[in-house]
């Protein structure tokens, strides 16, 4: 049975698209047939992060309107046979999405895919609402910072009241993903700690992604950061995907790395 996972946050710029790309790719690399759907109509980004921007012909809105079919619209990822991308339309706005249209497309995707990862736009308006409405599970992406935590909290409230599962009395399975985490700044008291955020949001922690140079580099190269297995962020995303699939793994990258004597002597970073 296909599972719909929404990656959402409320606040913008916290790493939803990076996370969608990483989790979608991670699931595909572990053998699941996966599609990542970009719901950010008008501000299309997922194709850039996935490095498939030059192959976009049709988009989500075309598909909803019946201008194209699924085969024409889905873009196959070059790195994994299991991975497809459904790009958003860049020329339209969120009003082009309708609940029936989204439902129809998702139902069609469910026939062939194991996982459907929905990359939600920021905000709590129509685009974000439709991205989460049909979800079975939600990954709430949060930065260790008060405004992001509050927006995530708001989003959790909406997930438990305005989704299809909530309307039929079921619960969406919620996961907390803390991104841009910098243990050194947490130690200095400049950043909220994992336990601070967990305390406020009180949902299970899926993973902590350390603030990393690798993320920006990967984005600009159009490679999901999870492919960079040397990097801390890539490894942390890998762990998160394993936990999403039910594996128990200890959380890593929560402690600031002690500088070695040599580093201290030369003041290098």
């Amino acid at each position: 049975m296909a599972k719909i996972i929404v990656v959402t946050s409320g606040k913008g710029g916290v790493g939803k698209t990076t996370t969608s790309a990483a989790i979608g790719t991670g699931l595909a690399l572990r053998g699941f047939k996966t599609v990542i759907v970009d719901f950010d109509v008008g501000l299309r980004n997922l194709d850039l992060i996935m490095g498939c921007e030059r192959r976009v012909v049709y988009d989500f809105v075309n598909l909803i309107n019946g201008d194209s079919n699924l085969n024409q619209t889905l873009i196959k990822d070059k790195r994994s046979d299991n991975l497809y991308i459904l790009p958003a339309s860049q020329t339209r706005d969120k009003d082009a999405l309708t609940q029936e249209g989204v439902e129809k497309v998702l139902e069609e995707l469910k026939q062939t895919f194991d996982y459907i990862v929905c990359d939600s736009p920021a905000g709590i308006e129509k685009g974000a609402h439709l991205a989460m409405y049909f979800a079975d599970e939600a990954v709430v992406v949060t930065n260790p910072e008060v405004s992001s935590v509050r927006d995530s909290d708001r989003m959790l409230g909406l997930l438990s009241s305005k989704s299809r599962r909530a309307e039929s009395g079921e619960k969406i399975k919620e996961h907390l993903l803390l991104t841009r985490y910098n243990p050194a700044r947490v130690e200095n008291g400049e950043m909220l700690s994992v336990s601070d955020v967990e305390d406020i949001l009180s949902i299970p922690l899926l993973g902590v992604i350390p603030e990393s140079q690798a993320v920006l580099k990967a984005s600009n190269q159009g490679v999901p950061v999870i492919m960079d297995e040397q990097s801390d962020a890539g490894q942390a995303y890998g762990d998160a995907v394993d936990r999403l699939l039910g594996e128990e793994k200890p959380h890593r990258f929560l402690e600031a790395q002690k500088k070695s004597l040599l580093q201290r002597l030369f003041g290098g970073r």
Binding site: T98, Q99, E100, D153, R154, G157, L158, S161, K162
Partner: protein, 247 residues
């Protein structure tokens, strides 16, 4: 609320929105059935603040009225109200006033459910006559919430207490006609006795609220921080100010 959002999505261009809301309305609470004195006293009040009463919607409450009211007297009272510039919208009172309300062309608003139950505990769920004199300390229907209350959510316990067994996030709002009990950290706003019950209290295991209020008297986080912050506390109204005491 959910139905509303669905409608909104089904149709790109909604003609109207359904909204739940709480409006403040002036209530004229009738105590005696004396149209002439009513007219005189109302004229006095209107004389003090003519603008305030101009086209003001009012609800006429019969809760405190000992006797029955016939249609002719009601019509007389309504005429007096309209002549003074008031716009009677509804009657508030027990089920027995329904015919009277229909005859007068008004809506009947029943008083809080909890009160009905309190006076006749053995009564069947059939509409029971309203109590003649509602007392604030009566047992009331309470609302229990086990899920965390998230930013942006609002929970109202109409006619009774509100009990929350989980955390209350910043940016959320708790309202109750009676007391509020919070067993997780209270980080949002809590307003007890919103319909003027000065006996209402707020109890919490960890006081981290943005605002607490009892019957309209309030304190914001800035003032709360000084005393019992992040500790168990109960908040009650003493005279005109809020008293915060350890649990």
């Amino acid at each position: 609320m959910t139905a509303e959002s669905n409608l909104d999505l089904l149709d790109n261009d909604p003609v109207f929105n359904l909204k739940g809301g709480m409006l403040t309305m002036t209530v004229i609470e009738l105590v005696r059935q004396e149209p002439d004195r009513f007219a005189r006293q109302l004229a006095d009040k209107v004389g003090q603040a003519p603008n305030f009463f101009k086209d003001t919607p009012v609800v006429i409450s019969l809760d405190k009225l000992d006797t029955d009211l016939d249609a002719a007297t009601m019509a007389h009272l309504l005429r007096i109200c309209r002549e003074s510039g008031l716009q009677p919208m509804a009657l508030r009172g027990a089920e027995k006033f329904r015919r009277l309300a229909q005859q007068s062309g008004l809506v009947l608003m029943l008083p809080g459910r909890g009160r009905d139950r309190a006076v006749e505990p053995e009564a069947q769920p059939a509409p029971a006559p309203a109590p003649e004199k509602p007392v604030a300390a009566e047992p009331m229907a309470s609302k229990v919430v086990t899920q965390p209350i998230r930013s942006g959510q609002q929970v109202y316990a109409r006619g009774g207490d509100l009990v929350v067994l989980a955390s209350v996030s910043p940016g959320s709002e708790l309202l109750a006609d009676g007391n509020i009990h919070v067993y997780g950290p209270l980080r949002g706003r809590a307003l007890a006795g919103v319909r003027g019950n000065t006996e209402a209290r707020i109890f919490c295991q960890s006081l981290e609220a943005e605002l607490v209020s009892i019957a309209g008297q309030y304190k914001v986080a800035e003032d709360l921080r000084r005393h019992l912050w992040k500790e168990g506390a109960q908040i009650s109204l003493e005279g005109d100010s809020l008293k915060i005491a350890p649990l």
